[in-house]
């Protein structure tokens, strides 16, 4: 019985540490970025309010927001985007909700909290499973 009690005690510690590890790796909301005072690497989950293509600068500007109305400007390479997605940003290449990882620079301008240099656009695969199946080879 002592061993079972030991197992239960360690299990509680494992559960606590695991929960902390998992929740700390979860995604931030745009409004949570307001706590940063210096450039920080962040992973945000946000709604895409607007997309602008800037061909002369080889950039795409994403205006990201959350339910609270907080916004940031996020930039990504246009050439890199096209090489990954096969086409410039559109409804078929960018979902309404996105997860992006990048360096956030806090520069508050009204309801815009700052800008982010996107390192990676992460896409969930949830929507794919709603699509009808295809076969081929």
């Amino acid at each position: 019985m002592k061993a079972v009690m030991l197992a239960a005690s360690i299990a509680l510690v494992v559960l606590l540490v695991g929960y902390m590890a998992i929740t700390s790796s979860s995604y931030e909301q745009i409004s949570q970025l307001s706590r940063y005072r210096k450039p920080t690497m962040v992973t945000v989950r946000a709604l895409v309010a607007d997309i602008k293509t800037l061909p002369e600068e080889d950039l795409i500007l994403f205006v990201l927001k959350d339910e609270n109305g907080s916004k940031i400007y996020a930039f990504y390479g246009l050439t890199r985007f096209i090489s990954q997605y096969g086409a410039p940003p559109s409804h078929s290449t960018v979902e309404q909700e996105v997860i992006m990882r990048g360096m956030f620079y806090p520069e508050r301008m009204g309801d815009v909290l700052g800008r982010m240099e996107i390192k990676e656009i992460l896409q969930g695969c949830h929507k794919a499973y709603e699509a009808p199946p295809a076969t081929g080879g």
């Binding site: 360690i10 790796s25 990954q84």
Partner: protein, 348 residues
Amino acid sequence: MRKLVEALAVVSLIDAVTLWFSQTSGPFPSVVPLGNPTAYRNLYVHVPISVSTYLLFTLGFLLALAYLLRGKNWMEEMAHSFIAAGLVMGFSTLVTGMIWASESWGSPWNWDPRETGVLFMFLAFLVYLAVRSSIKDPDVRPRISMAFAVAAYATIPLSFLVPYLMPSLHPTIPETSMFVRGGLTPLLFGGRIILVSLEGSLLALLMRSGGARGAKLAVIPVVLVALLLVAVQLPPNLSGGTGGTFKVQVISGDVVDGTLHLKVRSSQGTYDLLYRGKPPINPLFVTFGGERRLTLEKHWLLVEGRIENGTILASSMRLIPYWGNAVNSLIYALTLFTLAYLAGRERK
């Protein structure tokens, strides 16, 4: 033991056939957010390995708990075998998942809550292994290590439930089952989960007794199929297109007067492509999200034909499957072979 090896040989043979079929003809989602849609054939490799990992750890946990309550030595030995097999499968889960994620999520490692959960689970059981091997006293070792095995199991519900509790790139079971519901898909998907889980469990049982030299031979069909997949599916990925062969990715397109008009890109630039033959995908169009969508979008094609006035006139085309599918099949085969090798060793 002989019966177990024979059962393993039969399961392995069916596994090999279904692995080949799933990776060459298995259904995949027709419209995907990112990357090559054929990457989703990893549903038939990565997911069964993951389920098998959860199952092996669960059986190991139950046997460890039973040992703590009953104290029978065979329970401890068997718990250890299941956990050791779970660790090998768990490593394979992480690697195959990373290879799939690099295409379909945009990055191989994302600190996604479930990814983090599975890594934590793997590390927790790795610590169990370290604890077990560091205690020299044979009277103390089983009780302490089994207590730790029971404790490490707390990571399983944590990693499994995460996509239900917080935003995650991983889908939930109801989301995945929306795809796995029609035609051949449920049979192939469910069948492969059962086969891989059965194979993992049989190998864990053989690891407990040891000396099962026939185990390596039994898993050879899976290894051969995986090598064949690598030989068939990797070269088109590595080819840049030569002479009258073009490697292109489909951007958009439509069918006009029976001719497929595609906008494609290659390493040389963007082209129009015309093709009158049988499309390499079925169906060619689907209605998704209220829109008519070309299912060839985002696919890489190997096209034979010629260029006239900047337009590729194609005489034949075939899909280039995502390279990671063949690599993941090989990783899976090597995982089985590793377990078979461990099962073949004589016990000290």
